[in-house]
């Protein structure tokens, strides 16, 4: 039995661990992949107080070491469910079940998928959700970007420096970002494809082409080796929907106090409804959630 179990070892979860340990509580942090969360993909962080320039990996490692030195326990197991038994919460992972008085859900978000057949199978074989991570593998090749938001536009601009040709495919008649069309027009190798949807991924061992359906119903095959999906993010709250109120986009509905619909279960970080999703606001959530959890434990 732990005082507090934290689900997710990103900046919010690890900051919560630091605060909970400093309040004298026993803490277990459960993480599905590696510590750090999304921030480890950032080459540079220039807006975190006291850090002029630090890499995401370095930042995450410093925070991990800080939490560990204070005595937080880390286990790398994916959490599949939480059960509320009042003063005890059962947290089940792929490997075991753990008990705590309070739980902080700091699971962050993941890239939204297109939801087309074979999409998962082709990750790492042509399908990618991070242009800056994987773009360099597509030097001199044709690629497509799916999405009409600012990330998709940035991805297309970035990839145009590496790839032979970049198709930007989006469902809407217009791109959502003001002035995006003009910016993209400066790059001859970017082809805009408004009011189009991707209907299939054609692959043998790796992606060879995609089928695109136009507004008038006609279909077209585009020979691309890479498809970069930039259609937003999904908060990872699905497994906890029974205990946490979620809004229509799946974010945990909670005020600045990080409380949820279930007493003793708190949320922190990017999976919470909030105005600004940044490293510093994730850390702030972690501090608040841990402090509220400690307060809650006193009532048991």
């Amino acid at each position: 039995m732990y005082d507090i179990i934290i689900v997710g070892a990103g900046p919010a979860g690890m900051t919560a661990a630091v605060y909970a340990k400093r309040a004298g509580k026993s803490v277990l942090v459960l993480e599905a992949s590696g510590y750090g969360g999304q921030i480890i993909k950032a080459a540079e962080i220039r807006n975190y107080p006291t850090e002029k320039n630090i890499s995401g990996v370095e930042f995450a490692t410093k925070l991990y070491e800080q939490a560990e030195a204070l005595g937080a326990e880390f286990r790398f197991e994916k959490v599949i469910g939480i059960e509320d038994k009042g003063s005890e919460k059962l947290v089940t992972t792929v490997a075991d079940t753990y008990t705590a008085g309070a739980v902080i859900v700091a699971t962050g978000s993941d890239s939204r998928k297109l939801g087309i057949a074979d999409e998962d199978k082709l990750v790492g074989r042509g399908v990618s959700y991070c242009a800056t991570c994987d773009g360099s593998f597509f030097r001199g090749k044709n690629v497509a970007v799916a999405g009409g938001g600012s990330t998709a536009v940035d991805d297309a601009l970035y990839l145009s420096q590496l790839a032979e040709k970049v198709y930007l495919i989006y469902r809407t008649p217009k791109l959502s970002e003001e002035g995006a069309k003009e910016k993209l027009a400066e790059h001859e190798n970017i082809v805009l494809m408004p009011e189009c949807g991707i209907t299939s991924l054609n692959a043998d061992k790796k992606l060879e082409s995609i089928t695109v359906k136009h507004k008038d119903g006609t279909e077209e095959n585009l020979d691309v080796s890479g498809l970069f999906v930039a259609v937003g993010r999904v908060p990872e709250n699905q497994n906890f929907a029974k205990l946490i109120d979620l809004n229509e986009k799946g974010y945990a509905v909670s005020g600045e106090n990080c409380h949820t619909a279930t007493p003793g279960i708190f949320v922190a970080g990017d999976n919470r409804v909030k105005e600004l999703r940044q490293l510093v606001t994730a850390a702030a959530d972690g501090a608040v959630a841990a402090t509220e959890a400690v307060k809650y434990l006193r009532t048991l």
Partner: protein, 102 residues
Amino acid sequence: MAVIKVNQADFENEVLKADKPVLVDFNADWCGPCKMLGPVLEEISEQRDDVKIVSVNVDDNRELAEKYDIYSIPCIVVIKNGEEVNRHVGLIPKSAVEALIK
């Protein structure tokens, strides 16, 4: 045994002709998740002698990356008797890495 750095020149001897399964970690210096995976692989390599773990820098060994169709890193490819038997793309915990070798 520690993780061994291999390149195009010694890949055949170190990996394809190895007398046990080889876990090849394709990575790069600029890749954050790769940096997190490194210590995990180092730990496994110290604990197990039934598997060999090697590291390939994709920037220095583009031909190898292309030969193995590496389009995202970290990418772990398990090779047995010169043939690929398993692969995984992305950062995973130690238990999941070990499951790839089973």
